[in-house]
């Protein structure tokens, strides 16, 4: 056992670091809030990486993957976090892409994978419903076969960034008589199809990141069914395990702790930098210790993957600890900022269209909004309570 990188791996790090330095769009460096970004902003880095052949590192090489080892992928995500890049969104790259290349047919692969690789096609996820959150399998959206089409009716919710989406992947009930987990199908829907309506949901940080998606008599060709009809739950679970392992955000949190230390060095307490205050410094160190543990846990999981094991139920640990650390980081940042945590967006009100310079230091601007926004992380992707249920059942065997 050892934790050292090989000379080859170090050379790889140099290579990706200089590629990022030379190619990452300058105007997207250190972007504060996702709400402020346009569709083009979100896709800019993805498209550059698509041309370079680096947009989907984890995929099999035949579909556009890089063939990197898990260690190289880890270095890649670390270097991106160091530069605070806006990474390709997960809906295509980490969610529907792997489902399509694993369970889809040749036509589906040919039609959909290139757009995900290039960043030309934006995907959204139609899973949760108002009555089906943690209990996802109780979903009620139906897809009824009518000749060469499915006719879809229902309401999805929390569809992240669906306002920009070209395509969506939806879980629909195709056999109303089957038990909950059976009778569900995984269907791809062109978001421009008549009957698809996306309505924004305002969140408590003031932004519009998620939507309600209504489907009314949406006619979708049967060739958009992925895999086998009524077996969608299998693919949905496969996707969720993939989503979970990416959700840990270790490299981003590392960068976040560096930023927190910078903020705390700038804030003063009794005439000295806040970071010199033992009470505060202790909390930052505790967070760093938790993150160090998570990092090694994630590397152990990656090593397991390298040995041919897919992400298993232990990815629930990554989700629980990763999101707890992300939340704690925003909490400590808010604490560091102190009095200037109160102004809304640094005093810039969305509603009156003001674009004045923010009050207080720049780093204080989004501290409260980010803290509020990150409460979602212990709720989405299978709430942390559900993750604990998974570990209880799958690992403890209780």
């Amino acid at each position: 056992m050892n934790l050292e990188f090989t000379p080859e791996e170090q050379a790889f790090r140099e290579e990706v670091r200089s590629f990022i330095a030379e190619n990452y769009p300058k105007h997207l460096a250190d972007f504060g809030m996702r709400e402020d970004m346009s569709r083009e902003d979100f896709l800019a880095w993805h498209k550059i990486l698509g041309k370079k052949g680096w947009s989907v590192p984890a995929w099999p090489v035949e579909y556009g993957g890089t063939g990197w080892t898990p260690t190289q992928r880890y270095i890649w995500s670390e270097e991106n976090a160091r530069a605070s890049t806006v990474m390709p969104l997960p809906f295509g790259v980490s969610m529907v892409g792997p489902v399509i290349y694993t369970f889809g047919n040749a036509e589906q692969k040919a039609k959909h994978l290139p757009g995900i690789v290039s960043g030309d096609v934006w995907w959204c996820q139609g899973y949760s419903e108002p009555g089906a959150g943690s209990d996802l399998a109780s979903l009620k959206t139906t897809a009824v076969r009518d000749g060469d089409h499915y006719v879809i009716n229902g309401q999805k919710t929390w569809t992240t960034l669906a306002q920009h989406a070209d395509w969506g992947f939806f879980l629909c009930r195709t056999d109303p008589t089957a038990k909950a987990q059976e009778g569900i199908s995984f269907i791809l829907v062109d978001m421009k199809t008549p009957g698809v309506e996306v309505k924004p949901i305002k969140l408590l940080d003031g932004g519009y990141e998620v939507n309600e998606t209504w489907l009314t008599d949406v006619r979708v060709p049967v060739e958009n069914l992925v895999g086998v009809e009524n077996k969608g739950w299998t693919y949905a679970k496969f996707l969720l395990a993939h989503e979970r392992s990416g959700i840990a955000g270790v490299a981003r949190s590392k960068r976040g702790i560096e930023k927190l230390r910078e903020i705390a060095a700038n804030e003063t307490l009794d005439g000295a930098p806040l970071i010199k205050d033992f009470d505060f410094a202790k909390k930052v160190s505790q967070l760093e210790i938790d993150l160090a543990a998570l990092e090694i846990t994630e590397l152990r999981t990656l090593a397991g993957e390298q040995a041919g094991k897919g992400p298993g139920p232990e990815s629930s640990i990554l989700k629980i600890k990763g999101t707890e650390i992300q939340q704690r980081l925003t909490e400590l940042t808010l604490e560091a900022v102190g009095t200037y945590s109160a102004p809304y967006m640094g005093g810039v009100s969305n509603d009156n269209g003001s674009n004045e310079h923010p009050v207080g230091p720049d780093y204080a601007q989004h501290a409260a909004a980010t803290y509020f926004n990150m409460r979602k992380t212990s709720i989405y992707g299978g709430s942390n309570e559900i993750q604990r249920n998974i570990i209880t059942k799958m690992i403890l065997g209780l």
């Binding site: 959150g133 209990d135 949901i201 969140l203 408590l204 009095t339 109160a342 102004p343 004045e356 207080g360």
Partner: protein, 376 residues
């Protein structure tokens, strides 16, 4: 020992509770926050009419002879409805400075306006670099004839956009962070040289950055003795902290009740989520945290008249305990509400936001733990 309220106090609570319930419904509050004014002057007028704004002043000063317990009752009810009107800056802070440090002439000049609802005050104590130390002041007041000239920048002054008057802390002598040399001034907001930048706060209130540029005030603007203001500031802010703790208790009580109710209504896996023991125990922990916070709020409120050390220890204990409970209850309430908890539409997120910002007012948990240590 007596934890009972008087008949008059019960009446005040019932009256306010009705006002909040009937006139402070969620949609009206939301509209008021989004409006140009950002608050409801008509509610303020009603509070004056009900005698709420005059409650903590003595009858000799034109008030109704109430005390800290009355302020606590009032603030609990405000917390339940997330009332945004500036009771603490005006009645507790400005009122407190006048009561404890004001001359007969200053009381005469200002208390009547507070009681009648015609004068609204904001308390400009924080500064960009001062964190939670009231003596860490860059704002200066230089003697000029009989009066003073003020210069400086006060940060995040809650309620300032609505205020007719400001209470400002400034240094008249000594070095930054010295205990001596701190003075308190009261002045009309339209005094030449005062400019503000107004904005919305994340918990739905309004605040300003207040800039003082060669602001001339007369000798009558000084509250208390020149350079001896810190003890007075500590007393008044302790009263403000007790009031804010009471507000947080009101907000926590409602946030907890809403969460329990949501867990009854929300069904997953064919049953109400409130039937899951893992959530039950967390709601029990929230409840326990609330009861403990309420006890500390009682302690702080009842010790406001004690000697300085007892008072400060009790107030710091409350700010720590309520701050910790506010964080726990706010976060858990959102978590148990699931996705709905992070929406703007559900009220719970707004309680969470108010309970979050509570910690940064008049010193956070760490600050008051340190003060408690220093006094122990």
């Amino acid at each position: 020992m007596d934890f009972n309220f008087t008949e008059e106090q019960d009446m005040v609570r019932d009256g306010l509770s009705r006002l909040v319930r009937e006139q402070y419904d969620w949609e009206t509050r939301r509209k008021a926050i989004a409006s140009g004014a950002g608050w409801r002057p008509e509610v303020w007028a009603q509070l004056a009419e009900l005698g709420i704004l005059g409650m903590p002043f003595s009858e000799a000063d034109g008030g109704f002879g109430g005390g800290a317990v009355d302020a606590m009752i009032i603030m609990q009810e405000f917390g339940k409805g997330l009332v945004i009107e500036p009771f603490v800056p005006t009645v507790v802070c400005a009122g407190g400075f006048l009561k404890h440090g004001g001359t007969a002439a200053q009381k005469e000049e200002h208390i009547g306006g507070i009681v009648a609802g015609s004068s609204v005050f904001a308390f400009a104590y924080a500064e960009p670099k001062g964190r939670y130390d009231y003596a860490d002041l860059e704002t200066t007041a230089k003697k000029d004839g009989a009066g003073y000239v003020l210069n400086g920048h006060k940060a995040v002054v809650i309620g300032a956009p609505w205020a007719s008057h400001l209470v400002v802390t400034a240094r008249t002598g000594g070095e930054r962070r010295d205990r001596s040399g701190v003075s308190v001034f009261v002045l009309p907001k339209d005094t030449p040289g005062v400019t503000t930048r107004d904005y919305v706060t994340v918990d739905g209130r309004r605040a300003s950055e207040v800039y003082l540029e060669n602001v001339s005030v007369g000798a009558g603007a000084l509250i208390g003795a020149e350079g001896e203001g810190l003890a007075l500031i500590e007393l008044v802010t302790d009263e403000a902290i007790a009031a804010l703790c009471a507000e947080a208790c009101g907000a926590m009580k409602v946030a907890h009740a809403m969460t329990v109710e949501y867990s009854r209504q929300r069904k997953q896996f064919g049953v109400p989520i409130g039937s899951f023991q893992v959530l039950q125990h967390r709601m029990v922990d929230m409840y326990t945290a609330y009861e403990q916070a309420l006890s500390l709020t009682y302690l702080a409120t009842l010790r406001l008249g004690s000697d300085e050390v007892e008072r400060k220890k009790a107030v710091s204990a409350a700010k720590v305990g309520v701050g910790q409970a506010a964080r726990l209850i706010g976060q858990e309430a959102v978590q148990i509400h699931g996705g709905n908890g992070v929406t703007d539409e559900y009220a719970i997120g707004h309680f969470f936001k108010r309970l979050t910002i509570f910690d940064s007012e008049f010193g956070n948990v760490d600050h008051h733990l340190k003060r408690h240590v220093a006094l122990s």
